[in-house]
Symmetry: D2
Subunit: 141 residues, 4 copies
Protein backbone atom coordinates (compact mmCIF):
# COMPACT_ATOMS: atom_id res chain seq x y z
CA UNK A 1 0.00 0.00 0.00
CA UNK A 2 1.78 3.10 -1.30
CA UNK A 3 1.19 6.63 -0.04
CA UNK A 4 0.20 9.11 -2.78
CA UNK A 5 0.98 12.34 -0.92
CA UNK A 6 4.25 13.67 0.45
CA UNK A 7 4.55 15.05 3.97
CA UNK A 8 4.72 18.54 2.51
CA UNK A 9 1.53 18.11 0.47
CA UNK A 10 -0.25 16.64 3.47
CA UNK A 11 0.79 19.44 5.78
CA UNK A 12 -0.28 22.10 3.30
CA UNK A 13 -3.66 20.41 2.77
CA UNK A 14 -4.33 19.96 6.49
CA UNK A 15 -3.28 23.49 7.28
CA UNK A 16 -5.84 24.84 4.85
CA UNK A 17 -8.61 22.34 5.61
CA UNK A 18 -8.31 22.20 9.41
CA UNK A 19 -6.77 25.45 10.63
CA UNK A 20 -8.33 24.93 14.07
CA UNK A 21 -6.49 21.62 14.61
CA UNK A 22 -3.29 21.96 12.66
CA UNK A 23 -2.37 25.50 13.56
CA UNK A 24 0.92 25.86 15.35
CA UNK A 25 -0.96 26.69 18.52
CA UNK A 26 -2.63 23.26 18.79
CA UNK A 27 0.52 21.26 18.32
CA UNK A 28 -0.31 18.37 15.95
CA UNK A 29 2.43 17.53 13.46
CA UNK A 30 2.81 14.92 10.69
CA UNK A 31 6.15 13.24 11.31
CA UNK A 32 6.29 10.24 9.00
CA UNK A 33 4.45 8.74 6.04
CA UNK A 34 5.15 5.11 5.18
CA UNK A 35 3.56 2.21 3.33
CA UNK A 36 0.17 1.77 4.97
CA UNK A 37 0.86 4.02 7.96
CA UNK A 38 1.58 7.53 9.22
CA UNK A 39 3.01 8.90 12.46
CA UNK A 40 1.74 12.12 14.01
CA UNK A 41 2.94 13.83 17.17
CA UNK A 42 1.21 15.98 19.72
CA UNK A 43 3.23 18.47 21.68
CA UNK A 44 0.67 18.73 24.47
CA UNK A 45 0.00 22.33 25.31
CA UNK A 46 -1.33 23.59 28.62
CA UNK A 47 -4.95 23.41 27.53
CA UNK A 48 -4.79 19.68 26.71
CA UNK A 49 -3.74 18.84 30.23
CA UNK A 50 -5.68 17.61 33.24
CA UNK A 51 -4.47 18.26 36.79
CA UNK A 52 -1.24 16.27 37.24
CA UNK A 53 -0.05 17.07 33.75
CA UNK A 54 -1.87 14.21 32.03
CA UNK A 55 -3.41 14.58 28.57
CA UNK A 56 -7.23 14.52 28.62
CA UNK A 57 -9.42 11.82 27.06
CA UNK A 58 -10.93 14.17 24.47
CA UNK A 59 -7.44 15.22 23.37
CA UNK A 60 -6.42 11.55 22.94
CA UNK A 61 -9.62 10.95 20.96
CA UNK A 62 -8.84 13.93 18.73
CA UNK A 63 -5.28 12.74 18.16
CA UNK A 64 -6.51 9.23 17.26
CA UNK A 65 -9.20 10.59 14.93
CA UNK A 66 -6.93 13.07 13.12
CA UNK A 67 -4.16 10.46 12.81
CA UNK A 68 -6.46 7.86 11.25
CA UNK A 69 -7.92 10.46 8.90
CA UNK A 70 -4.44 11.58 7.86
CA UNK A 71 -3.34 8.00 7.19
CA UNK A 72 -6.29 7.50 4.83
CA UNK A 73 -5.75 10.85 3.13
CA UNK A 74 -2.07 10.04 2.59
CA UNK A 75 -3.08 6.88 0.70
CA UNK A 76 -6.08 8.04 -1.33
CA UNK A 77 -5.21 11.70 -1.91
CA UNK A 78 -6.83 14.96 -0.87
CA UNK A 79 -9.91 14.72 -3.07
CA UNK A 80 -11.97 12.41 -0.91
CA UNK A 81 -13.80 13.53 2.19
CA UNK A 82 -13.83 10.57 4.53
CA UNK A 83 -16.18 10.70 7.52
CA UNK A 84 -15.65 8.91 10.85
CA UNK A 85 -18.49 6.43 11.39
CA UNK A 86 -17.19 4.50 14.41
CA UNK A 87 -14.34 4.61 16.86
CA UNK A 88 -13.62 2.14 19.63
CA UNK A 89 -10.97 3.60 21.92
CA UNK A 90 -9.22 2.02 24.91
CA UNK A 91 -7.52 4.18 27.52
CA UNK A 92 -4.78 1.91 28.88
CA UNK A 93 -2.73 4.02 31.26
CA UNK A 94 -2.46 7.70 32.09
CA UNK A 95 -0.20 9.33 29.52
CA UNK A 96 3.01 10.84 30.83
CA UNK A 97 3.53 14.59 30.39
CA UNK A 98 5.38 15.49 27.21
CA UNK A 99 5.13 14.60 23.55
CA UNK A 100 2.83 11.79 22.38
CA UNK A 101 3.34 9.83 19.15
CA UNK A 102 0.38 8.29 17.27
CA UNK A 103 1.06 5.56 14.73
CA UNK A 104 -1.94 5.01 12.45
CA UNK A 105 -1.87 1.74 10.48
CA UNK A 106 -4.43 1.03 7.76
CA UNK A 107 -6.14 -2.33 8.31
CA UNK A 108 -8.45 -2.01 5.32
CA UNK A 109 -8.76 0.50 2.50
CA UNK A 110 -11.85 -0.45 0.52
CA UNK A 111 -13.90 1.53 -1.95
CA UNK A 112 -16.53 2.43 0.63
CA UNK A 113 -14.95 1.80 4.04
CA UNK A 114 -11.52 2.20 5.58
CA UNK A 115 -10.48 0.75 8.95
CA UNK A 116 -7.45 2.17 10.75
CA UNK A 117 -5.72 1.14 13.97
CA UNK A 118 -4.01 3.83 16.05
CA UNK A 119 -1.50 3.24 18.87
CA UNK A 120 -0.57 6.28 20.95
CA UNK A 121 2.56 6.14 23.06
CA UNK A 122 4.65 8.47 25.16
CA UNK A 123 7.72 9.57 23.24
CA UNK A 124 9.92 9.28 26.30
CA UNK A 125 9.30 5.59 27.09
CA UNK A 126 7.43 4.19 24.09
CA UNK A 127 4.73 2.59 26.24
CA UNK A 128 1.29 2.44 24.57
CA UNK A 129 -1.11 4.59 26.58
CA UNK A 130 -4.12 4.54 24.28
CA UNK A 131 -5.29 2.29 21.43
CA UNK A 132 -8.11 2.92 18.98
CA UNK A 133 -9.68 1.36 15.91
CA UNK A 134 -11.73 3.65 13.68
CA UNK A 135 -13.94 3.16 10.63
CA UNK A 136 -14.34 5.83 7.96
CA UNK A 137 -16.92 6.03 5.22
CA UNK A 138 -15.39 7.00 1.88
CA UNK A 139 -17.78 8.84 -0.46
CA UNK A 140 -18.22 7.67 -4.08
CA UNK A 141 -15.57 9.14 -6.35
CA UNK B 1 -31.45 2.11 40.65
CA UNK B 2 -31.85 5.29 42.70
CA UNK B 3 -29.74 8.43 42.26
CA UNK B 4 -27.93 9.53 45.44
CA UNK B 5 -27.19 13.13 44.43
CA UNK B 6 -29.51 15.99 43.56
CA UNK B 7 -29.00 18.13 40.48
CA UNK B 8 -27.76 20.93 42.70
CA UNK B 9 -25.15 18.73 44.44
CA UNK B 10 -24.02 17.38 41.08
CA UNK B 11 -23.65 20.82 39.54
CA UNK B 12 -21.68 22.13 42.51
CA UNK B 13 -19.37 19.09 42.47
CA UNK B 14 -18.76 19.27 38.71
CA UNK B 15 -18.18 22.99 38.80
CA UNK B 16 -15.42 22.53 41.35
CA UNK B 17 -13.92 19.35 39.89
CA UNK B 18 -14.07 20.23 36.18
CA UNK B 19 -14.02 24.01 35.81
CA UNK B 20 -12.64 23.66 32.28
CA UNK B 21 -15.68 21.67 31.09
CA UNK B 22 -18.54 22.89 33.24
CA UNK B 23 -17.83 26.59 33.21
CA UNK B 24 -20.59 28.69 31.71
CA UNK B 25 -18.37 29.37 28.71
CA UNK B 26 -18.29 25.72 27.60
CA UNK B 27 -22.00 25.19 27.78
CA UNK B 28 -22.57 21.76 29.35
CA UNK B 29 -25.53 21.60 31.73
CA UNK B 30 -27.12 18.84 33.83
CA UNK B 31 -30.82 18.92 33.02
CA UNK B 32 -32.34 15.83 34.58
CA UNK B 33 -31.47 13.04 37.01
CA UNK B 34 -33.67 9.95 37.05
CA UNK B 35 -33.58 6.31 38.10
CA UNK B 36 -30.60 4.89 36.22
CA UNK B 37 -30.10 7.83 33.88
CA UNK B 38 -29.22 11.50 33.50
CA UNK B 39 -29.76 14.05 30.75
CA UNK B 40 -27.17 16.70 29.91
CA UNK B 41 -27.36 19.42 27.30
CA UNK B 42 -24.77 21.17 25.21
CA UNK B 43 -25.44 24.66 23.97
CA UNK B 44 -22.87 24.45 21.19
CA UNK B 45 -20.69 27.52 21.14
CA UNK B 46 -18.77 28.81 18.15
CA UNK B 47 -15.64 26.86 19.01
CA UNK B 48 -17.41 23.47 18.95
CA UNK B 49 -18.54 24.00 15.39
CA UNK B 50 -17.13 22.81 12.09
CA UNK B 51 -17.77 24.68 8.84
CA UNK B 52 -21.49 24.41 8.10
CA UNK B 53 -22.42 24.82 11.75
CA UNK B 54 -22.07 21.15 12.67
CA UNK B 55 -20.70 20.04 16.05
CA UNK B 56 -17.28 18.36 15.80
CA UNK B 57 -16.51 14.70 16.59
CA UNK B 58 -14.29 15.54 19.58
CA UNK B 59 -17.07 17.67 21.05
CA UNK B 60 -19.57 14.80 20.68
CA UNK B 61 -17.02 12.47 22.30
CA UNK B 62 -16.59 14.90 25.20
CA UNK B 63 -20.34 15.22 25.66
CA UNK B 64 -20.75 11.42 25.66
CA UNK B 65 -17.87 10.93 28.10
CA UNK B 66 -18.96 13.65 30.54
CA UNK B 67 -22.60 12.46 30.39
CA UNK B 68 -21.70 8.86 31.19
CA UNK B 69 -19.40 9.98 33.99
CA UNK B 70 -22.12 12.19 35.45
CA UNK B 71 -24.67 9.35 35.32
CA UNK B 72 -22.33 7.14 37.35
CA UNK B 73 -21.50 9.90 39.81
CA UNK B 74 -25.19 10.62 40.34
CA UNK B 75 -25.71 6.99 41.37
CA UNK B 76 -22.61 6.27 43.48
CA UNK B 77 -21.90 9.72 44.91
CA UNK B 78 -18.99 12.12 44.57
CA UNK B 79 -16.41 10.07 46.49
CA UNK B 80 -15.43 7.68 43.73
CA UNK B 81 -13.15 8.63 40.91
CA UNK B 82 -14.26 6.54 37.93
CA UNK B 83 -11.90 6.36 34.95
CA UNK B 84 -12.96 5.77 31.33
CA UNK B 85 -11.41 2.53 30.09
CA UNK B 86 -13.25 2.08 26.78
CA UNK B 87 -15.65 3.94 24.58
CA UNK B 88 -17.21 2.75 21.36
CA UNK B 89 -18.87 5.66 19.61
CA UNK B 90 -20.96 5.72 16.42
CA UNK B 91 -21.44 8.93 14.47
CA UNK B 92 -24.80 8.43 12.77
CA UNK B 93 -25.63 11.69 11.05
CA UNK B 94 -24.30 15.23 11.11
CA UNK B 95 -25.79 17.01 14.10
CA UNK B 96 -27.99 20.00 13.33
CA UNK B 97 -26.90 23.39 14.66
CA UNK B 98 -28.37 24.23 18.05
CA UNK B 99 -28.70 22.51 21.39
CA UNK B 100 -27.87 18.81 21.75
CA UNK B 101 -29.33 16.55 24.46
CA UNK B 102 -27.39 13.52 25.79
CA UNK B 103 -29.29 10.83 27.66
CA UNK B 104 -26.92 8.54 29.59
CA UNK B 105 -28.48 5.25 30.76
CA UNK B 106 -26.62 2.93 33.10
CA UNK B 107 -26.47 -0.63 31.71
CA UNK B 108 -24.39 -2.01 34.57
CA UNK B 109 -23.19 -0.59 37.87
CA UNK B 110 -20.90 -3.18 39.42
CA UNK B 111 -18.33 -2.89 42.16
CA UNK B 112 -15.47 -2.61 39.72
CA UNK B 113 -16.97 -1.71 36.35
CA UNK B 114 -19.82 0.45 35.13
CA UNK B 115 -21.20 0.41 31.58
CA UNK B 116 -23.24 3.34 30.31
CA UNK B 117 -25.07 3.92 27.03
CA UNK B 118 -25.38 7.47 25.71
CA UNK B 119 -27.74 8.66 22.97
CA UNK B 120 -27.19 12.20 21.70
CA UNK B 121 -29.97 13.88 19.78
CA UNK B 122 -30.77 17.30 18.38
CA UNK B 123 -33.18 19.12 20.67
CA UNK B 124 -35.13 20.52 17.75
CA UNK B 125 -36.09 17.21 16.09
CA UNK B 126 -35.16 14.48 18.61
CA UNK B 127 -33.28 12.44 15.99
CA UNK B 128 -30.32 10.46 17.40
CA UNK B 129 -27.12 11.79 15.83
CA UNK B 130 -24.52 9.94 17.88
CA UNK B 131 -24.57 6.81 20.06
CA UNK B 132 -21.89 5.62 22.46
CA UNK B 133 -21.29 2.86 24.99
CA UNK B 134 -18.59 3.49 27.58
CA UNK B 135 -16.96 1.43 30.31
CA UNK B 136 -15.61 2.98 33.50
CA UNK B 137 -13.34 1.43 36.09
CA UNK B 138 -14.49 2.17 39.63
CA UNK B 139 -11.67 2.22 42.19
CA UNK B 140 -11.97 0.20 45.41
CA UNK B 141 -13.84 2.12 48.10
CA UNK C 1 -39.59 3.49 10.22
CA UNK C 2 -42.03 0.86 8.94
CA UNK C 3 -41.21 -2.85 8.57
CA UNK C 4 -41.73 -4.21 5.05
CA UNK C 5 -41.86 -7.93 5.89
CA UNK C 6 -44.28 -9.87 8.06
CA UNK C 7 -43.08 -12.34 10.67
CA UNK C 8 -44.15 -15.18 8.40
CA UNK C 9 -42.17 -13.88 5.42
CA UNK C 10 -39.15 -13.29 7.63
CA UNK C 11 -39.27 -16.78 9.10
CA UNK C 12 -39.60 -18.40 5.71
CA UNK C 13 -36.70 -16.38 4.30
CA UNK C 14 -34.42 -17.09 7.27
CA UNK C 15 -35.28 -20.77 7.25
CA UNK C 16 -34.17 -21.05 3.65
CA UNK C 17 -31.16 -18.72 3.86
CA UNK C 18 -29.75 -19.83 7.23
CA UNK C 19 -30.82 -23.41 7.87
CA UNK C 20 -27.86 -23.90 10.21
CA UNK C 21 -29.00 -21.10 12.54
CA UNK C 22 -32.76 -21.05 12.22
CA UNK C 23 -33.45 -24.76 12.26
CA UNK C 24 -35.60 -25.92 15.11
CA UNK C 25 -32.59 -27.59 16.66
CA UNK C 26 -30.73 -24.30 17.25
CA UNK C 27 -33.61 -22.53 18.86
CA UNK C 28 -33.69 -18.99 17.45
CA UNK C 29 -37.17 -17.59 16.86
CA UNK C 30 -38.53 -14.26 15.57
CA UNK C 31 -41.11 -13.13 18.11
CA UNK C 32 -42.02 -9.59 17.21
CA UNK C 33 -41.58 -7.06 14.43
CA UNK C 34 -42.29 -3.41 15.18
CA UNK C 35 -41.48 0.05 13.87
CA UNK C 36 -37.69 0.19 13.87
CA UNK C 37 -37.14 -2.96 15.93
CA UNK C 38 -37.51 -6.72 16.18
CA UNK C 39 -37.45 -9.18 19.08
CA UNK C 40 -35.89 -12.62 18.76
CA UNK C 41 -35.70 -15.35 21.37
CA UNK C 42 -33.18 -18.07 22.05
CA UNK C 43 -34.32 -21.22 23.78
CA UNK C 44 -30.82 -22.16 24.90
CA UNK C 45 -30.12 -25.78 24.13
CA UNK C 46 -27.55 -27.93 25.87
CA UNK C 47 -24.81 -27.12 23.38
CA UNK C 48 -25.02 -23.34 24.03
CA UNK C 49 -24.33 -23.79 27.70
CA UNK C 50 -21.18 -23.45 29.75
CA UNK C 51 -20.72 -25.31 33.04
CA UNK C 52 -23.26 -23.84 35.49
CA UNK C 53 -25.94 -23.55 32.85
CA UNK C 54 -24.82 -20.17 31.52
CA UNK C 55 -25.01 -19.28 27.83
CA UNK C 56 -21.58 -18.92 26.18
CA UNK C 57 -20.09 -15.71 24.78
CA UNK C 58 -20.09 -16.96 21.18
CA UNK C 59 -23.79 -17.85 21.48
CA UNK C 60 -24.60 -14.34 22.76
CA UNK C 61 -22.56 -12.89 19.88
CA UNK C 62 -24.50 -15.03 17.40
CA UNK C 63 -27.83 -14.00 18.90
CA UNK C 64 -26.85 -10.30 18.73
CA UNK C 65 -25.60 -10.62 15.15
CA UNK C 66 -28.61 -12.54 13.86
CA UNK C 67 -31.03 -10.20 15.67
CA UNK C 68 -29.46 -7.06 14.20
CA UNK C 69 -29.40 -8.65 10.74
CA UNK C 70 -33.06 -9.63 11.04
CA UNK C 71 -34.05 -6.12 12.15
CA UNK C 72 -32.42 -4.65 9.02
CA UNK C 73 -33.94 -7.30 6.75
CA UNK C 74 -37.39 -6.65 8.20
CA UNK C 75 -37.08 -2.98 7.21
CA UNK C 76 -35.39 -3.18 3.79
CA UNK C 77 -36.72 -6.51 2.52
CA UNK C 78 -35.06 -9.79 1.62
CA UNK C 79 -33.26 -8.61 -1.52
CA UNK C 80 -30.29 -6.97 0.14
CA UNK C 81 -27.36 -8.89 1.51
CA UNK C 82 -26.09 -6.85 4.44
CA UNK C 83 -22.67 -7.75 5.83
CA UNK C 84 -21.50 -7.18 9.43
CA UNK C 85 -18.53 -4.82 9.42
CA UNK C 86 -18.20 -4.07 13.14
CA UNK C 87 -19.67 -5.20 16.42
CA UNK C 88 -18.89 -3.84 19.85
CA UNK C 89 -20.36 -6.15 22.46
CA UNK C 90 -20.47 -5.79 26.26
CA UNK C 91 -20.99 -8.81 28.48
CA UNK C 92 -22.65 -7.33 31.56
CA UNK C 93 -23.59 -10.25 33.79
CA UNK C 94 -23.77 -14.01 33.42
CA UNK C 95 -27.05 -14.88 31.74
CA UNK C 96 -29.46 -16.99 33.79
CA UNK C 97 -30.42 -20.41 32.44
CA UNK C 98 -33.56 -20.38 30.31
CA UNK C 99 -34.88 -18.32 27.42
CA UNK C 100 -33.13 -15.12 26.35
CA UNK C 101 -34.86 -12.25 24.50
CA UNK C 102 -32.94 -9.96 22.12
CA UNK C 103 -34.45 -6.62 21.19
CA UNK C 104 -32.73 -5.12 18.13
CA UNK C 105 -33.41 -1.40 17.58
CA UNK C 106 -32.28 0.34 14.41
CA UNK C 107 -30.24 3.48 15.19
CA UNK C 108 -29.53 4.33 11.56
CA UNK C 109 -30.71 2.91 8.26
CA UNK C 110 -28.76 4.68 5.53
CA UNK C 111 -28.17 3.78 1.92
CA UNK C 112 -24.77 2.29 2.62
CA UNK C 113 -24.60 1.65 6.37
CA UNK C 114 -27.02 0.50 9.04
CA UNK C 115 -26.33 0.69 12.79
CA UNK C 116 -28.34 -1.47 15.18
CA UNK C 117 -28.38 -1.68 18.97
CA UNK C 118 -29.19 -5.03 20.60
CA UNK C 119 -30.13 -5.57 24.26
CA UNK C 120 -30.28 -9.19 25.41
CA UNK C 121 -32.13 -9.98 28.62
CA UNK C 122 -33.25 -13.03 30.55
CA UNK C 123 -36.92 -13.67 29.95
CA UNK C 124 -37.50 -14.57 33.58
CA UNK C 125 -36.32 -11.31 35.17
CA UNK C 126 -35.87 -8.87 32.26
CA UNK C 127 -32.37 -7.86 33.39
CA UNK C 128 -30.05 -6.89 30.51
CA UNK C 129 -27.17 -9.39 30.42
CA UNK C 130 -25.49 -8.36 27.17
CA UNK C 131 -25.53 -5.22 25.01
CA UNK C 132 -24.17 -4.81 21.51
CA UNK C 133 -24.00 -2.21 18.76
CA UNK C 134 -23.35 -3.48 15.25
CA UNK C 135 -22.68 -1.84 11.87
CA UNK C 136 -23.72 -3.45 8.60
CA UNK C 137 -22.67 -2.54 5.09
CA UNK C 138 -25.60 -2.51 2.67
CA UNK C 139 -24.63 -3.27 -0.92
CA UNK C 140 -25.77 -0.98 -3.75
CA UNK C 141 -29.24 -1.88 -5.00
CA UNK D 1 6.34 -9.27 29.49
CA UNK D 2 7.35 -12.89 29.99
CA UNK D 3 5.03 -15.87 29.54
CA UNK D 4 4.73 -18.10 32.61
CA UNK D 5 3.32 -21.22 30.93
CA UNK D 6 4.76 -23.44 28.23
CA UNK D 7 2.77 -24.50 25.18
CA UNK D 8 2.41 -27.96 26.69
CA UNK D 9 1.04 -26.66 30.00
CA UNK D 10 -1.34 -24.36 28.16
CA UNK D 11 -2.64 -27.14 25.90
CA UNK D 12 -3.19 -29.48 28.82
CA UNK D 13 -5.03 -26.80 30.81
CA UNK D 14 -7.25 -25.77 27.90
CA UNK D 15 -8.03 -29.37 27.01
CA UNK D 16 -9.33 -29.97 30.51
CA UNK D 17 -11.05 -26.60 30.99
CA UNK D 18 -12.63 -26.21 27.54
CA UNK D 19 -13.15 -29.65 26.03
CA UNK D 20 -15.91 -28.29 23.79
CA UNK D 21 -13.57 -25.78 22.12
CA UNK D 22 -10.16 -27.41 22.25
CA UNK D 23 -11.14 -30.94 21.32
CA UNK D 24 -9.51 -32.23 18.17
CA UNK D 25 -12.87 -32.03 16.44
CA UNK D 26 -13.13 -28.24 16.74
CA UNK D 27 -9.68 -27.53 15.44
CA UNK D 28 -8.17 -24.78 17.61
CA UNK D 29 -4.46 -25.17 18.31
CA UNK D 30 -1.88 -23.15 20.26
CA UNK D 31 1.05 -22.66 17.92
CA UNK D 32 3.35 -20.17 19.55
CA UNK D 33 3.88 -18.39 22.86
CA UNK D 34 6.11 -15.31 22.93
CA UNK D 35 6.78 -12.24 25.04
CA UNK D 36 3.41 -10.51 25.25
CA UNK D 37 1.68 -12.55 22.55
CA UNK D 38 0.43 -15.95 21.43
CA UNK D 39 -0.51 -17.41 18.06
CA UNK D 40 -3.40 -19.85 17.67
CA UNK D 41 -4.62 -21.55 14.52
CA UNK D 42 -8.00 -22.71 13.38
CA UNK D 43 -8.24 -25.53 10.91
CA UNK D 44 -11.74 -24.62 9.80
CA UNK D 45 -13.96 -27.67 9.71
CA UNK D 46 -17.11 -28.07 7.64
CA UNK D 47 -19.36 -26.74 10.38
CA UNK D 48 -17.53 -23.41 10.64
CA UNK D 49 -18.14 -22.64 7.02
CA UNK D 50 -20.74 -20.54 5.26
CA UNK D 51 -21.77 -21.20 1.66
CA UNK D 52 -18.75 -20.42 -0.53
CA UNK D 53 -16.31 -21.92 1.96
CA UNK D 54 -15.96 -18.79 4.10
CA UNK D 55 -15.60 -18.96 7.89
CA UNK D 56 -18.62 -17.58 9.75
CA UNK D 57 -18.66 -14.46 11.93
CA UNK D 58 -19.38 -16.38 15.14
CA UNK D 59 -16.42 -18.66 14.43
CA UNK D 60 -14.12 -15.63 13.96
CA UNK D 61 -15.50 -14.16 17.19
CA UNK D 62 -14.79 -17.42 19.02
CA UNK D 63 -11.26 -17.59 17.61
CA UNK D 64 -10.59 -13.98 18.68
CA UNK D 65 -12.04 -14.54 22.15
CA UNK D 66 -10.20 -17.80 22.82
CA UNK D 67 -6.93 -16.36 21.47
CA UNK D 68 -7.09 -13.30 23.71
CA UNK D 69 -7.99 -15.45 26.70
CA UNK D 70 -5.09 -17.80 25.99
CA UNK D 71 -2.64 -14.89 25.68
CA UNK D 72 -3.65 -13.63 29.14
CA UNK D 73 -3.53 -17.11 30.65
CA UNK D 74 -0.05 -17.68 29.22
CA UNK D 75 1.17 -14.56 31.04
CA UNK D 76 -0.60 -14.80 34.39
CA UNK D 77 -0.90 -18.56 34.80
CA UNK D 78 -3.83 -20.95 34.99
CA UNK D 79 -5.11 -19.88 38.41
CA UNK D 80 -7.03 -16.81 37.34
CA UNK D 81 -10.41 -16.93 35.70
CA UNK D 82 -10.56 -13.91 33.40
CA UNK D 83 -13.98 -12.95 32.02
CA UNK D 84 -14.58 -11.13 28.72
CA UNK D 85 -16.25 -7.79 29.43
CA UNK D 86 -16.05 -6.15 26.00
CA UNK D 87 -15.03 -6.99 22.48
CA UNK D 88 -14.98 -4.69 19.50
CA UNK D 89 -14.50 -6.73 16.35
CA UNK D 90 -14.05 -5.58 12.75
CA UNK D 91 -14.74 -7.93 9.85
CA UNK D 92 -12.45 -6.63 7.11
CA UNK D 93 -12.74 -9.08 4.24
CA UNK D 94 -14.20 -12.53 3.73
CA UNK D 95 -11.69 -15.08 4.99
CA UNK D 96 -10.30 -17.47 2.41
CA UNK D 97 -10.97 -21.18 2.87
CA UNK D 98 -8.24 -22.99 4.78
CA UNK D 99 -6.32 -22.41 7.99
CA UNK D 100 -6.59 -19.11 9.87
CA UNK D 101 -3.89 -17.76 12.21
CA UNK D 102 -4.78 -15.48 15.15
CA UNK D 103 -2.04 -13.41 16.75
CA UNK D 104 -3.11 -12.08 20.16
CA UNK D 105 -0.94 -9.23 21.51
CA UNK D 106 -1.38 -7.95 25.06
CA UNK D 107 -1.84 -4.17 25.12
CA UNK D 108 -2.33 -3.96 28.88
CA UNK D 109 -2.04 -6.46 31.71
CA UNK D 110 -3.19 -4.72 34.86
CA UNK D 111 -4.30 -6.09 38.20
CA UNK D 112 -7.98 -5.78 37.34
CA UNK D 113 -8.19 -5.40 33.56
CA UNK D 114 -6.35 -6.82 30.58
CA UNK D 115 -6.69 -5.50 27.02
CA UNK D 116 -5.67 -7.69 24.09
CA UNK D 117 -5.53 -7.02 20.36
CA UNK D 118 -6.13 -9.92 17.96
CA UNK D 119 -5.33 -9.95 14.24
CA UNK D 120 -6.67 -12.92 12.27
CA UNK D 121 -5.18 -13.67 8.89
CA UNK D 122 -5.37 -16.37 6.24
CA UNK D 123 -2.35 -18.64 6.48
CA UNK D 124 -2.03 -18.84 2.71
CA UNK D 125 -1.63 -15.10 1.98
CA UNK D 126 -1.12 -13.44 5.38
CA UNK D 127 -3.80 -10.80 4.71
CA UNK D 128 -5.64 -9.64 7.86
CA UNK D 129 -9.31 -10.63 7.52
CA UNK D 130 -10.55 -9.76 11.00
CA UNK D 131 -9.29 -7.52 13.82
CA UNK D 132 -10.53 -7.38 17.39
CA UNK D 133 -9.72 -5.67 20.68
CA UNK D 134 -11.04 -7.32 23.82
CA UNK D 135 -11.12 -6.38 27.51
CA UNK D 136 -11.04 -8.99 30.27
CA UNK D 137 -11.80 -8.55 33.93
CA UNK D 138 -9.27 -10.31 36.14
CA UNK D 139 -10.66 -11.41 39.50
CA UNK D 140 -8.82 -10.54 42.73
CA UNK D 141 -6.11 -13.06 43.50
Amino acid sequence: MQPVMTSEELRAFLHDAFPQVMGSEFGFTVDEIGEGYTVMKLLAAERHLRPGGTVSGPTLFTLADVSAYVAILAHIGPVALAVTTNMSINFLIKPPPGTLAAKASILKLGKRLAVVEVAISGESDGVTVCHAVATYSIPPR
